[in-house]
Amino acid sequence: MENKAEKKVKFFDRVKNNDYYIKWIKSPFTYVAAAVLLAIFQIVTLAATGNPWGVSGVFAYWGAWIYEAVGGTVDKWFYFASPGAQATLDAGFMEHAGTWRNIGIIFGALAATFLASGFKIKKIKSKKQIVAAIIGGLMMGYGARIAAGCNIGALFSGIASLSLSGWVFAVAMFFGAVVGSKLLVKFFM
């Protein structure tokens, strides 16, 4: 038994030094390669699902399910008032396609990191990071709902859809990023 286990370890150590492994699985893609791939899969998404890629709309449903699990109700909210939204809420997250796509992003990144043998749990280092995560998260969540999307749904998908809203989002987001950078350097570094 021990011998077998040892052989297995040796096999994966050999993989680790294999040239193709290093080239294709270990090393990062270039930014341009990733950009081309993202664009291709964005087009695939529109062709196959009838809608462009979106991420943050799903988070509103996650919030609603959590809120309902702790006893709240969102039935009276305008945002969830449409029959479609009600049906999605009633069906639950296990039946929600967007939920599985978002969880898929997490799992895809997790698997890619492990396959590259580069996984490490990164603990929170300081109180500043906690404050930054809370404030930043809240601002992204609220902003994405008011602007009808995030960097994916409103920006990437908006611009790809030849919508003026995508460009307006881009300009406003850029200035937000400048202000955010100033705040980051001043308070969170």
Partner: protein, 228 residues
Amino acid sequence: MAEQSSLASRRSSSSASRRKPKKNQIPIGVALVIIIVAIGIYLGTKSGQLALYWTLGISFGVILQKGRFCFTASMRDPYLTGGTSLTRAVLIAFAIATIGFAAIKYGYQSMGLPMPGMSYVAPVSLGTVFGAFIFGIGMVIAGGCASGTLMRVGEGFHMQILSLLFFIIGSLWGAHDFGWWKLNVISKGKEVFLPDVFGWAGALFVQLTIIVLLYIAAEKYEEKRKAQ
């Protein structure tokens, strides 16, 4: 390689690599791939749509992680560090996706069918400006946008788990206030689909020209910042 190793050997402090034995994580990665496939098969038994979305999510996650692709950095780095390589990569993604989207939408329209994904042509209002502005601030502070936060949760960042949690709470808060915004702000805006304004060829020409000009500007800007 020879020149590279010389730099490491010239350092006086000892490299941590000689202290820590490296573990091999590839077997866990292989196990994860098997789990991913198993979940895909399970979802496929429920509905093809769920399996399709799962596959797309996995693909996006892998691409984002392998490319270290970060929309936050593409917006932040020009100002903060003077680098624009991610900005230019994002512009390339925009250009390619634009062409693909236009082709699909045009195809549907010319067959007399309703175009897919038109709900993503959102009204332009002060809500778009305000929402995108605070989203921009938030993503820089939290160290990740919507896709980047999910990707970094997968990479093992506790900080991004926390920001994802508050992203969800913020989304719920935004959804709670959405009725007010819709009534007073968003409803005053109008959806502008560029082909309606410039025609199909015109819209593609205008948008791709803007993307090319932005690309050139980004490159020139980086050279200028470096010269300083």
